[in-house]
């Protein structure tokens, strides 16, 4: 179980190898990579700047990960989130969930992403082609996705 905040990019193969090699109890690994899209409602995006709350970010990601591990049978998990200025196509976030079986791996990764989106203290500011910059609004659908987990009995 690990969380990391960094301005550097990550290598998925390397992260997965570090997390899962040596544990032959792992039968499935679900991964998710969030990327910067090149347009915002039709407007070209020049860059995206990610601000976070050092200290709280690590604490909150740790709590999210602990919760995922208690809900699903996970062998290992990882959250890596980038901060600073990113360009279209750049990686933003990596989530990995390893489990004996694929259903737990998928559910674990999806749970990590849903809660990361609604609870981890990151904020995105978009700079558009016309030079304007704006803070991204929180999406209601993300809140709904996280709320849905609290209604599942598993």
């Amino acid at each position: 179980m690990a969380v990391r905040v960094s301005s550097d990019d990550f290598d998925i193969s390397e992260e997965m190898a570090k997390l899962s090699s040596g544990d032959t109890g792992i039968g499935g690994v679900a991964l998710f990579v969030g990327k910067v899209r090149g347009d915002v409602k039709g407007q070209p995006l020049v860059s995206m700047t990610l601000e976070h709350y050092p200290g709280m970010t690590e604490a909150e990601l740790g709590r999210i990960e602990a919760e995922a591990c208690s809900r699903f049978k996970l062998s290992a998990s990882l959250i890596v989130h980038r901060v600073g200025e990113l360009k279209p196509g750049d990686n933003i976030v990596l989530v990995i969930a390893c489990a004996p079986h694929r259903q737990d791996a998928f559910a674990g990764a999806e749970y990590l992403m849903d809660y990361l989106k609604t609870r981890a203290p990151f904020w995105k500011k978009e700079t558009l082609g016309d030079g304007s910059a704006q803070w991204v609004d929180a999406r209601e659908s993300d809140e709904d996705a996280a709320t849905a987990w609290s209604q599942t009995t598993k």
């Binding site: 709350y53 709280m56 933003i92 989106k117 203290p121 904020w123 991204v136 929180a138 993300d142």
Partner: protein
């Protein structure tokens, strides 16, 4: 005779558009004694001059964390070391 104890200081932190509107990222001060809950604190912030008035105009749009954990408007501020104010998160 005992010296009157000065109220404890707390660190206040601001993020994203709240930081930009308030014009400050971090400050250290003693809160007035009549501030009990997070809601009290949000209403007090909105009365600290023009920049804060603008930043805290819609308290329902502001999220608060005490000592690195999300809290509700009804939470008590007593014993807080660090209180942070920010818009709903948009990471991932």
């Amino acid at each position: 005779m005992t010296e009157r104890q000065s109220p404890p200081e707390v660190t206040l932190r601001y993020f994203a558009w709240l930081r930009e509107r308030a014009g400050v990222s971090e400050e250290r001060l003693a809160l007035p004694a009549d501030i009990v809950t997070v809601r009290d604190l949000l209403l007090w912030q909105a009365r600290r001059g023009q920049a804060f008035e603008q930043a805290f105009a819609k308290p329902e749009a502001i999220r608060v964390a005490i000592d690195h954990a999300h809290v509700k408007p009804t939470a008590a501020v007593a014993n807080a070391r660090e209180i942070a104010f920010f818009p709903p998160v948009t990471g991932g």
